[in-house]
Symmetry: C2
Subunit: 366 residues, 2 copies
């Protein structure tokens, strides 16, 4: 952090600069074991276990009579998307589904959300009501309750219409505790995504630039907890992450960088076949015009699952049966070649490495 | 909400307009029992109880072997204070202590926080680091861990330097579950505050207006969980609330409006003796010059406790022994006269009603 000693847009991209900021600043000063794991949520033990208070002998959580063994997943995201209304959603539906998804991809069942609003003086109340109404609907449909909130107002020109920060808690059953750890990922595991990538980014770009599409591109913003629950109820999942800012490519790059322990080197490589990755024609076309790569475009309703090879077809079939997974596809494999790298076999027969997003593709995408 | 169909600064004051917005918008659309209680935190049962999953016979939480009976308190606040650095703290220390306090005043022990940052492009990284460093220090001193976070960056001019939203979870032991409910408040209960009120508001105002004080007024921003734990470990508390935006007067007005059930009318009045309320001379002086009332000035380290009359001296003594309570005072009584009203006996021998803050005294105070 010696150079460019100011915040740049790229620090919020979810890509390399964000990772650097997290490592150099937040992990350094907030220093604790849970944060160091850098999952989609912080995972902590169920509070109230007697030994915490009485110094009793530590017992396995699953031994505890009357309680399902497990932990709590806790996550937060700030939403600053511009425009606040876009095809397929608004900043409110995004704020609910984003945090529901961050909890769900740990394997936890999301239960409760908080919502804090920063409002610009002059914001029309009917716009705020449309946002809040949609948040209520999306939360109810996902089976979560918004139980805490806050409202601040800043003078006109000191923020941009409305920013929303949601936080959420979920219950992570003991039998899924390996999912946020990622410690069961093995060579040969299959990588599955639940449908078309890049739609959210293009929906925002289209609205911002007033583009007209041959068929409209809608944001994929959606709560994935139902789809994930369907998969977990009958199948084995080794790891999940939702592909938001930074797109599918950034999640794959994070996966390839995962190591068996904090100090050790990356254990796996990732091989992905470009021809299998679902991308809408309109998204591909707009990306070509603007010089973007769909694999780095933001999604708000896409989960990347890593599953054992013998589970892949079963998981794919469950996902395809869910309304949010009709276009799911197996897109790649965990390999022992080129640990730390994502190798993409391109549709024209070449190969290229995918790394994290380096700069900022589209600011304020979420 | 038929008139003034735009957000005004007063909607963020913590006073009457904020209450109206919460009732007309958030409660309506997020509609759930926990939110309706409108406490400082949302309180929910410990997740993972078997009956939740297996439909078993409901059992008292305190019966459960291996677990201390209790609930989880969950709270959030957005911080937009201007300036971001001020005498006695910065936006980061405020964001940590504010959420720690919102959890603590329910009687819960705060455990974990999340922190979401909205940064303006161009913010000097050393300013951000100073803020984050202070957050780490304040959290460590309070015994809480920041385990989840997010960073968004908006273009220059689209927010004001930095906004921080924290959320937090704490463990509420079963034996304190009456505190957020307030259902043990009785006529004759004493009202105690842990020291000088209005300091935070005046510290911000002073910094904003470049005022010079005879002796500097520092923000009282501090984590109150230690002081509260000291009181709860040996004394009976019927209710607590921290006096932040809207000041002491707004908390007293909320207390007087509390009813025995959602549909019933207010059960109590509150009588307060102005001469007993600790106010720094400098704060009183600046308020006179600017036409403010210290009782409506924001605090960030003040708790208002309602305790049984036979506990009042004991609680006062414990509070006075704590570094954050040296100037604690008994300031009033819960009465059966004028239910719903706060009556202030003034220092000049008169009486006046205190209601919630009606407009906005100082925007962006926290």
């Amino acid at each position: 952090m010696e150079q460019n000693r100011n915040i740049r847009l790229g620090h919020g991209s979810g890509g390399k600069l964000t990772h650097d900021l997290v490592n150099d600043l937040f992990l350094k000063h907030f220093d604790n074991e849970i944060l160091w794991r850098q999952g989609d949520s912080g995972i902590f033990p169920q509070p109230g276990r007697r030994e915490e208070f009485q110094g009793g002998k530590k017992q396995s959580q699953s031994d505890v009579n009357g309680f399902q063994g497990g932990s709590i997943a806790f996550s937060t995201d700030a939403y600053v998307v511009d425009p606040i209304f876009f095809p397929g959603g608004n900043i409110g539906s995004l704020a609910v589904s984003g945090t529901v998804n961050d909890i769900s991809v740990t394997g936890a069942r999301p239960l409760y959300l908080s919502a804090a609003f920063i409002l610009e003086e002059g914001l029309p109340l009917d716009q705020l009501e449309a946002i809040v109404r949609e948040m209520g609907t999306v939360a109810r449909d996902a089976g979560v309750q918004i139980i805490a909130g806050d409202t601040k107002v800043v003078n006109k020109g000191k923020c941009d219409k409305v920013f929303i920060t949601t936080a959420g808690v979920g219950f992570l059953e003991h039998r899924f505790s390996h999912i946020p750890e990622g410690n069961r990922i093995r060579t040969g595991d299959k990588i599955i995504v639940n449908g078309y990538v890049g739609d959210h980014g293009i929906a925002i770009l289209g609205e911002r630039e007033s583009l007209s599409f041959s068929s409209p591109v809608l944001s994929d913003a959606a709560c994935l907890n139902g789809l994930i629950e369907d998969v977990l109820s009958g199948h084995d999942v080794h790891f999940m992450r939702d592909a938001t800012r930074g797109g599918l490519a950034t999640v794959l790059a994070e996966l390839a960088r995962m190591a068996k322990s904090k100090s050790s080197r990356p254990a796996f490589g990732v091989h992905v076949d470009e021809s299998t990755i679902p991308v809408h024609e309109e998204v591909r076309g707009i990306c070509e015009v603007f010089g973007y790569d769909p694999l780095y475009m933001a999604n708000e309703g896409k989960v990347v699952m890593v599953v054992p090879p013998d589970q892949a077809d079963g998981v794919l079939s469950v996902m395809q049966d869910h309304p949010l997974g009709n276009n799911s596809a197996i897109i790649g494999t965990v390999t022992d070649r080129q640990p730390g790298k994502v190798v993409l076999s391109t549709e024209i027969g070449g190969r290229r490495f995918l790394d994290m997003l380096a700069g900022e593709q589209l600011p304020r995408i979420c």
